[in-house]
Symmetry: C3
Subunit: 428 residues, 3 copies
């Protein structure tokens, strides 16, 4: 009974038209041109590399798309159990009439042709959006992005601030900031004014969120201007040679300033907590980051308390932090659960984390899912994976365990998956 | 088959008459007088606040019970997915003939009337106990509680010691201690004598446990008297201005002394590990505490080793600590698992934590559940939630996976839920 | 449907002939002689002790096997819910025609007789291997084991290195090393030469792995020879009185040297991460070790990066570290998941950890299970427990959730359970 029930709920959830609240889509080239754009996603390159394919071969200069696909397909068998592989097959089946359950050396070439043909249509990205029932996708824009040349109703700007918080010691980051805003950040007042300029620009272009990813040992505190000034001077003088303390102080100060601007400009501040960059130093492109799961949201208690008027949609990298996220969202009005990020974005972790969120966080405070995709085609299988687990949890834990009606269960799923995105990231 | 099996097991577990081994019941006013006493429980106020209702409105002075309920009901919709909300509906249905599955602005007033009428019966608390099949409930008594004026067979005293361990630097705590025992704790000998006096008093009144809640960074060690004396002198001199080290030393010393008294007076020492107080500083009453899940039971290895004759029923706040709890209870004869506390007291966490306990901790060493309630009506839905998960785990992991008979499964559930409480907290 | 499906998959998995890639079998006495050898396993003694049986009674000198069994059986009832108890019953049923579902004071003596009779057969260990479909078992050999007198095709040597890394300060360890290799480790060069000698010896005898168990606070770094020399001199001078820093430095140096030898001699290096020894100081033999679950694989990032040519099969003690293990194995080509260790070796933890591994780690990089057994009889029920969970996860998460064919699911299970062991620990 539970399997059929799941399918009925899933069928309802599949009807929803949604917005994807976090992606890395390039609005100037949102969809793929060949199968190589799909197989070039770091999940495939890093898993193939992890299974034995040399990075040098994957990343050899001048490798043509078709040859890249040939190479990768040859090394996909060891990862055909992974959920990431299932996304590939699902895209092939749904978009390109692929009829097999594995992409092999025997069948990839016709798939490649079919994909290239479909992707060659001038309205391919629109087709993908429609087929995936996507009304819009949030972007991840560099702070100096001009935000020109695309439809910001569909491709919704989001100000990404990692560079400002963690890399201001790099001269080129300060140069980019000065160029984008016309303000050289040589003192605290100008630094603040420059950051304000970014918010002015982004909100004028329809930005609906500010975002940052954070290492597990980051624990921001309010820094006074005098202390921040010392940090800034150090950095202006010696750049990345600045001592750890100066850099940490300046990171806290910039982070705090961004939160102030989120308050002033009414933008939610997405915190993506827990990633260590470049842990596997010989990994493929985008396949080097890992983490230390010993992190606590108590590191953010000070800022949650300091900015009650700012909404903080929180993503945690490790599932062991999910219970803290549930508990903090249960108490703090301004803390919201946000999707299932990266290493927690697999079915068993989604089921585990989602089960707890649905039973203990107010239904208005949960952003169900975002795809984190680089190419539009991935929304379909990624949201598909999420909806499968959402239907399972609703079926097993609400309809069966708590005797909810199916309508009530679907309504909860709809709110999590669709409505809250509009509510929490309002149009301006 | 598994669903019907679960219901059969649940039906058996529902027959049991039990003792609730940890509550915050006021024995002088154990049950509710109006629906406001139910909706005033911090779970509803904090979740309503978290969903957007201002604390100032919830806690406005002079708010009449009916108006408080009107206010809260208006803001319940965003939390109608939570398990805490399900407790409310279940109480309404079971105690007050409520026939809806949600409490809304359209139906709350008749519920309010019905509840007031029922609660007005002079024997209401006795009715609730009977309907909930409760034979007794453990209290959480301040150390200076007179323990007079109630039936200690039903309302069983428990000595709560947080104030002694963590707040002895406050003059009013020392004054209360002196008043309760007739001993002014001006030196280590007298401090110890005063604490002994409390144990003498509590055990003479039928106390069956000593209890404390502990922050995640507490790691008690044996402190010698000379060192403790220095800490005590500091505190006597400057009170809460005492340095962190002096306070920490004194906390360890008092904690150790309480363990010694537990040995001497044959009381189990309930440790509730992992809460940080007042993390969300603007939260509603009792809705400010959170945690840092980075805690380990190794912090208590020294005291578990030092007091083999004391039973330590352990509650952990975060589910990520449950495996350690299982492992420590599996090796240490004096470590016992105790219920599912607070942020881990939701169905999916109970299922997860319970599954591991049942398969790896001796059956005699598990106290299944306590309600932690402030008003008697909550035992019914809270134990109901637990029993639902207990029946699920017994059905799926023992009857199905390990081919146990249903009788054997029910016997295990009965021991966990009922018998162990009597064994582990014996009557004197 | 799912239950029958599970049984069909289990039936297929039960046909496989496998190698057990980590045990503590004594190749000179691999199987048991009486039931006391089974009940003497630390799981039974520690759980019986934890339930109230005094260590002094369990470990009384001169206790005859039959009396030891009598004593333990009398104290088994409190642990008859544990999975460890189920292993005992399964062995009794499968090997000794036992027809009950519990071993009691009423039925143990005939079981004892039957077991003694069967175990008395000269080919008993061969019978057990055959009945358990075991083709071979890895050993855990002291570094100075002569590796003589047994069939290394079936009893496969594995070099255990805890003593070298953590106990080189003990004079007797250095003496054993000198004796085994003919090299007195009085300077860094000779220490390295001695370790190389061990690898030479072990690989010449068919060793297929090097292994070590590690405390949670170990975080090895490359140490230069000059620094290592200072550490070694300290230790040669004052032995175990050497300061913590010197010992830690030497531990790092020896650990690093062993990794170098693994590279040179082409041996995988099994890391078993997270155990604290002798936490419960009054525990029974082998029943004293626990852990602090606050550990991260980032502590090993440096060594994973430094030795891409060495395979590191990783076991983690606490399930909260499993997600890190999955993620590190997903990126690092040389990191492989290895079994379900000790306190994580129970059904609900296996299900949880395995679910995540199967969906996110390449199928070639997962060693499904090892028994960790001391006596051959335990492979049957331990692998049985694992296969039950493997069949469950394959059925529920792959066949049901992802519409895999049963054949495909069984093929994945077969690779995890059987094939990868041969691939990852190749014969020389």
């Amino acid at each position: 009974m539970s399997e059929k029930l799941r399918l009925r709920l899933l069928d309802e959830l599949d009807q929803l038209e949604i917005i994807d609240p976090h992606t890395h889509i390039n609005p100037h080239a949102p969809a793929s041109q060949t199968l190589a754009d799909l197989l070039g996603y770091h999940y495939y390159t890093e898993l193939a590399h992890s299974s034995g394919l040399a990075r040098q071969r994957i990343e050899q200069p001048g490798l043509e798309p078709r040859e890249k696909v040939r190479l990768l397909v040859k090394h996909l068998a060891p990862l055909d159990n992974t959920v990431q592989y299932s996304w590939l097959v699902e895209m092939a089946q749904q978009f390109f009439e692929f009829e097999h359950d594995r992409v092999t050396q025997a069948n990839w070439e016709s798939l490649y042709e079919k994909a290239s043909q479909k992707m060659g249509a001038p309205d391919w990205s629109t087709q993908v959006l429609a087929r995936s029932r996507l009304k819009g996708v949030f972007l991840t824009n560099d702070f100096d992005d001009s935000l020109e040349g695309f439809d910001t109703e569909i491709y919704i700007p989001c100000l990404r601030t990692d560079d400002l918080v963690f890399h201001l010691a790099k001269p080129q980051v300060r140069t980019r900031l000065a160029k984008a805003t016309g303000i050289d950040p040589v003192n605290i007042g100008q630094l603040r004014a420059a950051i304000a300029g970014l918010f002015e620009h982004f909100t004028s272009k329809g930005a609906r969120a500010c975002a940052i990813s954070l290492p597990p040992d980051f624990a921001p505190s309010k820094v006074n201007e005098q202390t921040a000034t010392k940090g800034l001077l150090q950095i202006l003088k010696v750049g990345e040679q600045a001592d750890v303390d100066s850099r940490r102080i300046l990171s806290s100060f910039v982070f705090w300033t961004i939160a102030e601007m989120c308050a002033q400009y009414h933008l939610p501040f997405d915190l993506m907590i827990g990633v260590n960059r470049a842990v596997y130093t010989s990994g493929v492109f985008q396949g080097q980051d890992l983490y230390d799961s010993r992190v606590s949201l108590i590191q953010y208690a000070e800022i949650f308390n300091a900015f009650p008027q700012v909404t903080f949609p929180i993503s945690v990298l490790a599932s062991v932090t999910n219970q803290e996220l549930v508990s903090y969202a249960w108490l703090f009005p301004n803390v919201v659960t946000n999707g299932h990020w990266w290493y927690s974005n697999t079915p068993s972790k989604i089921e585990h984390d989602l089960s707890h969120r649905l039973e203990a966080v107010p239904r208005t405070k949960q952003i169900g899912y975002y795809s984190d995709m680089y190419k539009l085609e991935f929304a379909l299988p990624k949201f598909g994976m999420y909806k499968k687990m959402l239907a399972k949890v609703l079926a097993e834990r609400f309809v069966v365990d708590y005797r909810w009606s199916e309508e009530r269960a679907v309504a909860l799923g709809t709110q999590i998956l669709r409505d809250n995105t509009e509510q929490i990231f309002p149009r301006r």
